[in-house]
């Protein structure tokens, strides 16, 4: 229930959870990668960084898309540079189907009414050549979700990797 001039945190909480679920469904389906940038606000950032660098305050990140332009460019790199979504013969990587397992998820709010969303995550890749899925990454999401009316978008999505060593290379966002 939204009261005029007041924010309903219960609604926002649900919207933030729904946004995260939407995110996971999109990044787990390579055919839907086009929908990924729209999950972010106009001044958003998407950062993937190791816990080691995060805690040592070292600025080098695995991915540092610190503007909506960079987030949109990621799509261009995936499609045009690496040939994703095109013919198999044109792809310059080894096909893998990603799968996120996320949870639990916790939501708090800051003074501006943004939702601070945290969650544990694990990402597997299923590769045609292997019998078993490969564990790609494990860690924690530290996200900020902002609201424009009823619409929720990521203002900041930080993916903190627990290990200092990436187990593999990857195409689709974590």
């Amino acid at each position: 229930m939204a009261l005029a001039g007041r924010v309903d945190l219960g609604e926002r909480r649900q919207a933030a959870l729904d946004l995260l679920t939407q995110y996971i469904r999109i990044v787990d389906d390579p055919r839907r990668i086009e929908e990924w940038p729209a999950l972010f606000s106009d001044d958003a950032e998407y950062i993937v960084i190791t816990r080691e660098n995060h805690e040592r305050n070292l600025p080098i990140a695995v991915i540092r898309d610190d503007s909506k332009d960079r987030i949109a460019d990621r799509l261009t790199i995936i499609r045009e540079f690496w040939g994703a979504g095109g013919r198999a013969a044109d792809r310059h990587y080894n096909d893998a189907w990603p799968r996120h397992v996320v949870g639990p998820v916790w939501v708090e709010f800051n003074e501006s009414g943004d939702a601070l969303v945290g969650a544990n995550f694990v990402v597997y890749q299923s590769v045609q050549v292997d019998v078993a899925p490969r564990l790609l990454a494990v860690g924690e999401y530290q996200d900020v979700v902002e609201f424009s009316g009823a619409t929720a978008k990521f203002k900041s999505k930080k993916v903190i990797l627990d290990t200092s060593v990436l187990q593999d290379v990857f195409v689709y966002p974590l």
């Binding site: 080098i60 540092r64 960079r70 460019d73 990587y93 200092s164 990436l166 593999d168 290379v169």
Partner: protein, 419 residues
């Protein structure tokens, strides 16, 4: 004054090839490489000795990664886990990461500082200082009468630096670093400058490929336009380039150098083209170097990068991508490097994915027997080669074969096999 600690390995200078490797047949032509060298587990073990503790210098870090006394990082030289540390006295040392008592690994993590307290082994509380000297043991009563702490310091590799790049060796026969580098110092100077770099952080990744396949990919200029099609999307070209092999008669170094298309002449396929922009140098000249056997030093665009190669298994290799700025950088320049580096030359960046994919596929089919063949540019026997040539790969394998004792003119090296 501590007595010289025992070397942890016997020096590997094989006369002839060990019997177990005599089954590997090298073709007469030096541009043919038998595929089994990427999968054979006995050969892998032999390489960890003959190459990585052979008469080579292994790149293990840069001084700017360990600026304060007590700072350390960890990695392996071949199969030997080591601690690269700035001692309390300010000098860089490389210590074997194994307690001299019963072999426990002294530090687990990738980095830290042990100025206060040194290294303390969790098993029996043996404590070492930042030079690796044993300074305390728990309950020393009832030790053999001749026990002296001075005899149980951590083995140390020899260390030399060039413009802050830290090299280590476990071998007594390798010449001094400057001799070893020879003319490669010209390229190292361009990238490292006066050595006053600022460490920005590292990313490590596992490649599903043999370490030699990872390294030879850097010697290979042929694949760049075929595999890295992203460059074509923006119409980025290298021109005026060449591939050198400094000191090729004695070593297998690589120095590839070239110019790139300036960013304002590229097709703006990305919204943020700073990915390909060179702002901190007057020209787009760049260098891609390998200090044989495995140290990578490069400066594409505004990215200054060192890579450290750790072979894990015949089909798995860990690569550490370390990124740097210069101490003279403005905040803006530094941040530009931070944004550019991993995106263009990092494991999640534009081109590394493609190399990883190709190299994994080479590894997957390496059990198919037969030989890989190096063709482009091989009409020439000696450098310089063109930038698009793959011929420099031959020199990597010349140096490799010398270290292993494999014959340089074909065969198995087993006619008078020893051991």
């Amino acid at each position: 004054m501590n007595s010289r600690p025992k070397s942890p390995v016997t020096r590997a200078s094989p006369r002839g090839v060990p019997k177990v490797l005599q089954r590997i047949r090298w073709p007469e032509e030096d541009n043919k490489i038998p595929r089994e060298i990427f999968t054979d587990p006995d050969l892998f073990r032999a390489e960890m000795d003959a190459v990585f503790t052979g008469p080579v210098w292994v790149l293990v870090g840069h001084e700017s990664e360990i600026p304060q006394p007590g700072d350390f990082k960890t990695l392996s030289i071949g199969a030997i886990p080591v601690i690269v540390i700035r001692g309390a006295n300010g000098r860089v040392g490389v210590l074997v990461n194994a307690c001299a008592h019963r072999g426990t690994r002294l530090v687990e993590g990738p980095s830290g500082n042990v100025l206060r307290g040194g290294f303390r082994c969790i098993y029996h509380m043996w404590t070492y200082d930042t030079e690796g000297r044993l300074i305390a043991v728990s309950l020393p009563d009832d030790f053999p009468a001749e026990f002296r702490k001075e005899d149980y310091g951590l083995p140390r590799a020899r260390v030399e630096t060039y413009k802050g790049a830290i090299f280590a060796t476990f071998n007594d026969e390798v010449p001094p670093l400057l001799d070893y580098l020879a003319e490669l110092t010209g390229g190292l100077d361009r990238v490292l400058g006066d050595g006053a770099l600022r460490y920005l952080g590292s990313i490590k990744v596992i490649f599903r490929t043999n370490w030699k396949l990872y390294v030879e990919n850097i010697y290979d200029g042929y694949h760049v336009t075929a595999l890295h099609t992203g460059f074509q999307v923006v119409r980025l070209r290298s021109h005026g380039g060449e591939r050198l092999v400094p000191n090729y008669e004695r070593n297998g170094h690589l120095w590839g150098r070239s110019k790139s298309t300036p960013v304002n002449e590229l097709t703006p396929a990305l919204r943020d083209m700073s990915l390909f922009d060179t702002r901190t140098k007057p020209t787009t000249d760049h260098n891609m170097m390998v200090v044989f056997p495995s140290g990578v030093v490069t400066d594409y665009f505004d990215t200054i990068q060192l890579r450290y190669v750790v072979p894990l298994e015949p089909a798995r290799t860990q690569i550490e991508f370390a990124f740097f700025g210069r101490t003279t950088d403005t905040e803006e320049a530094l941040w530009h490097r931070v944004r550019q580096g991993p995106e263009v030359l990092g494991p999640a960046g534009a081109i590394t994915l493609e190399d990883a994919a190709a190299l994994e596929r080479v590894q997957l089919s390496a059990t198919a027997r037969g030989e890989n063949v190096v063709l482009k540019g091989t009409a020439k026997r000696f450098p310089p080669y063109r930038h698009v040539d793959e011929a420099p790969i031959r020199h990597f394998y010349h140096a490799y074969r010398r270290l292993l004792g494999f014959p340089l003119n074909g065969g198995t090296g087993g006619a008078r096999g020893t051991r």
